[in-house]
Symmetry: C2
Subunit: 330 residues, 2 copies
Amino acid sequence: MKIAVDAMGGDNAPQATVRGAVDAVRQYGIDVILVGRREVIEKELKEYGASDLNIEIVHCEEVVAMDEHPASAVRKKRDSSIVVATKLVKERKADAVVSAGSTGAQMAAALFYLGRISGVLRPATAIPMPTIDGVSVLLDSGANVDSEPENLIQSAAMGAIYAEAVLGIKNPKVGLLNIGEEETKGNKLAVETYQLLKNSTLNFIGNVEGKDLNFGKADVIVCDGFTGNVVLKTCEGLASAMFTLIKKGIQSSLISKIGGLLVLPSLRGLKKRLDYSEYGGVPLLGVDGISMICHGRSDARAICNAVKAGERAARQGIVEAIAKELGKQQ
Amino acid sequence: MKIAVDAMGGDNAPQATVRGAVDAVRQYGIDVILVGRREVIEKELKEYGASDLNIEIVHCEEVVAMDEHPASAVRKKRDSSIVVATKLVKERKADAVVSAGSTGAQMAAALFYLGRISGVLRPATAIPMPTIDGVSVLLDSGANVDSEPENLIQSAAMGAIYAEAVLGIKNPKVGLLNIGEEETKGNKLAVETYQLLKNSTLNFIGNVEGKDLNFGKADVIVCDGFTGNVVLKTCEGLASAMFTLIKKGIQSSLISKIGGLLVLPSLRGLKKRLDYSEYGGVPLLGVDGISMICHGRSDARAICNAVKAGERAARQGIVEAIAKELGKQQ
């Protein structure tokens, strides 16, 4: 297995990307290919004391910037790191691509160069969501903003395959994100999707509400990409607001400052649990190859975890599993 | 001003409802009418040492249960506490109704007996959302699950009136809940609504994302009722999951247990800040009268706060303000 890492993409590139890739080599023995400007990558490898690892570098000149129009940037910049890294997957020279660059450009490159798996109407992004005792997957988290019931049931099937193969959840429970428990609840999309899920071969457990998301009621939660993206970012914001308020509260008196020092180690563990980068990037499911999308703010640990998740997805053959499952539905 | 309280509605009725109403009389000098079974209410008033307050009781025999079909229960049970309390508003014998009973039944009663304000396409529920330094209002939070751009712009206008009149926010900033900052972002509904808001007389500040919700970027945030309800319940669930994990973390060692005791008072303050009941119920905006919806689990404090918010909404004339504002748009 070889994982292509876009060395130039993300707010903390090339430091975080190169170091994350190096950590994946050192910690997990995964083969990586670093894609980007050779001199930049070599300098970073040297600074990290990793020149002796002989990591393969595929040189390219260009980078897609965060503010460029994704599709046209991908069309024009054929020699950009995200395009070159994605093409390595297409040409079977790499088994997955990992990037923390422009998400739109990464999706455009995946759609353009890898294409959809036959039978897949629309790819979907599957976000790992931390729960009080594990992790669930929420999808779609933004690839499709206007979804149809057929998109949601395909998302559910792809999410279940990913949860089983990569997160190791046996026969994952699938839930529909909705605003009530009864099957008649929700908007038109939810009501129609409920019936499709009920009649599918998936392990469908019914509706789950926002309040259930972090309690692991379902392993795979499906919704349209607009709602999913809002949910994801709401969790990010609320967790951050709560940590701000906790810090402010703790600093409000000498006694609670002392108490704060004593509870700090346990609160750090909590922050880590709620940190999405802990779970190793977001797969774009439904394209003919593995493309792991990382947060623009990814640090080396997030990149390393994404490389590991990408390698596991490739090793478990999720593309083939999705092709088989969704091919049946045609 | 007189506020009708549905004494029979909610998980903790009649104790929480009667005590909350009594607290509003005692703390704020607000006139209340308790609606429900006279003997039950009188017993509760006696137990709470409030018989001498001479609170008006309007007797009725029936109660709408949480599991009844809202519209048909409201049609059939004409002598139920929610119907009788709502009719007091209709007949101008009360200035607002407060209930913690079935939300569906309360909305059905409001639509049936109060009716929509002329010019309002659909009523919307406005949820107060705690932010790190204040409170915003999110609407719609579930009254309409399939919304059109016209519904969202009306929600925005009604939310702005409520935020200014009841929450005391001058010239409130209105934001559109979306999945990116640019005006071309989002689903069809969001893209179309953006243009309507941009060309309105509201203080529109553009898109806000989920991560901005708890940071007070906007005072009034609009979205469709499905997304709003999911966001609301997601926040509820995540906050609860975080408190569970904090507690677990603190109890994991003797040292952090000691620290926990020292920080507890400041964390209690945080829990209170994030507690939706603190903000006094959710107004159903757009109906011709004031109907304050409380959480089914409301305690006396939540009921008392809702009575206070209902009284303030009536005193500030929000129904008249909405009628004036939305009448102009016709």
